[in-house]
Symmetry: C2
């Protein structure tokens, strides 16, 4: 099985590559080649199969054709300019998020057999806010350019699937926590920060109140979903290739209770509430819960509880994050 | 007021240009210049204001900038490769329907003031079938490339409106009847054909049964909607710029009854039912009714009954259609 990961240098791309290297197979078939593509040459895990690494612009069709060589069976399309960056630089977001997906389609049409494409869409393509329980057929009315570009990508890949150019599954990822690294300017940064920083022994603030709810998943579960989407039978999807996976609707208070269970009262004491109306104004528009009935019925695994999310961070990312932050 | 019509050579584009020429104003402001753009040089109506005519490829950004000159207040974006053609030639549909709209955005961003953009989207962006009553927040799951490209265009223009690059209203047009001209290979051709042909004294067939329902509007009403969308206050729309206008859900039987009222029993007798499972399979997927509550509340005029649709054809298009068909 020949596999390509676009955006292989990112947080989730690296985890996906490592998982494929560890498993050595996908959907019961051995992995025979893995191509890792990103703007800069992405890191490669140790693997029993050959790994090719390519750096380039995802919006450039010629470059992308090299990243999706003849015989490619599966493309994981994780390459994206994320929400805050796409909002700050409209043209950059369009180039990567829309034209990158158009270039992906061009590259896939050159293949002899239509490859499976696993596309990471986003909850940012929805509105609705705290009271929302988005149904499976909920309409996407994005309030940000990133979400609009993702929703356009879904429509493109859905139609391309109907035409037989490729065979897409679009997964609308929840907010993925716990992100390693440092706090950043993304409005959602605090959702990871309020647990990551205390587990590193660092003080942090929370810009919204304890009742604020958010739709989340762990990076482990996100990778499980990618692999399931890559191997599943797409016949039951029909023309509708977009899925809301079964994430977890969790409040800030519940996350902090899990933090106290995992890290003790001293970890919990490192979080101080400091309301930030500017951040609250942005995040208040995100839907806090999804029905996700269809994805569950299609075999996508349920996100486990907040405690499991924190334990996954401790097991997978705490040491690396600590080491990285000590160095820089 | 400086106005541009993209797709000005088409059926609706010509009617819109003629209406602007007749009115001389839009939303109470005098029209000072009109630019008509199409692939071939479009015809121009007699008007009291200057009319510029430009031929070119709507997907070419440089050409389109000439069609949307400095000071443009309103752009009517009617240029499209329609459903059957976009299905037969995917690349052509993408070029005109998606890249044309991207080029429109580029051209609008060069203007000093964000222009109003009236975009013709389509009911083809929805599924649902005969039993559907599509709500205002109904999700677009297109079953054809034309509908997918229109839905992508809506997302693009909606986000561009939010960013202040332009100020869009997207109108999801029903099947427009009565189309002048000849029967063609479009699956929807019969909806116009079963009334137009008999009114010309010609026999025709109907591929679906008398209970088959379709969501229609007259070209007169479509032009009314365009003008209302061009002049309305868009503040109440918020970020959601897509509207299902108040068309008419009518059955084939009701259309034929109106035909008999308008054209007599001899006209009605010219229509023979001849089931065509291939056509029925396509059109059975189209939603036959929409709630259209939001558009009504925003002042979009209700489509009148089937009789009014036929009378409009008799008044506006019968003679020209007869003359054109006699010539060719």
């Amino acid at each position: 099985m020949r596999i390509t990961i676009l955006g292989a240098g990112g947080f989730l791309g690296r985890k996906l590559a490592a998982r494929l290297a560890r498993d050595g197979s996908l959907g019961g078939r051995p992995v025979t080649a893995l191509t890792l593509f990103d703007l800069n040459v992405p890191p490669a895990p140790d693997a029993a199969f050959p790994i090719h690494r390519i750096a380039g612009d995802v919006g450039d069709a010629a470059t992308l054709s090299r990243a999706i060589p003849a015989g490619t069976d599966v493309v994981f399309h994780l390459a994206a300019v994320v929400s805050a960056a796409a909002e700050a630089d409209f043209d950059l977001g369009m180039r990567v998020n829309l034209h990158g997906t158009l270039a992906l389609l061009d590259a896939c049409r050159k293949l002899e057999h239509a490859p499976r494409v696993v596309f990471t869409s986003s909850v940012a393509s929805f509105g609705g806010g705290q009271q929302a329980m988005v149904p499976d057929d909920g309409r996407q009315v994005p309030a940000n350019s990133y979400g609009a570009q993702k929703a356009m990508g879904e429509l493109l890949l859905q139609d391309a699937s109907r035409k037989g150019f490729l065979d897409a599954v679009s997964i609308r990822l929840p907010t993925v926590i716990v992100r390693p690294g440092r706090p950043n300017k993304a409005a959602s940064s605090f959702v990871s920060g309020i647990v990551r920083e205390p587990l590193l022994g660092l003080a942090t603030t929370c810009p919204v109140g304890p009742d604020f709810a958010v739709w989340v998943c762990s990076p482990r579960r996100a990778v499980d979903w990618f692999l399931h989407a890559a191997a599943m039978d797409t016949t039951p999807l029909g023309i509708d290739r977009g899925l809301n996976p079964p994430g977890l609707s969790v409040t800030v208070g519940e996350l902090l209770a899990a933090l106290e269970q995992v890290g003790g009262a001293e970890a919990r004491a490192l979080v101080r509430f400091e309301p930030d109306p500017a951040i609250e104004a942005i995040v208040a528009g995100w839907p806090a819960a999804f029905a996700a009935t269809r994805a569950r019925a299609l075999g996508f695994a349920q996100q486990e509880d907040a405690g499991a999310v924190l334990h996954a961070f401790l097991a997978d990312d705490l040491e690396a994050t600590r080491a990285e932050r000590a160095m820089t």
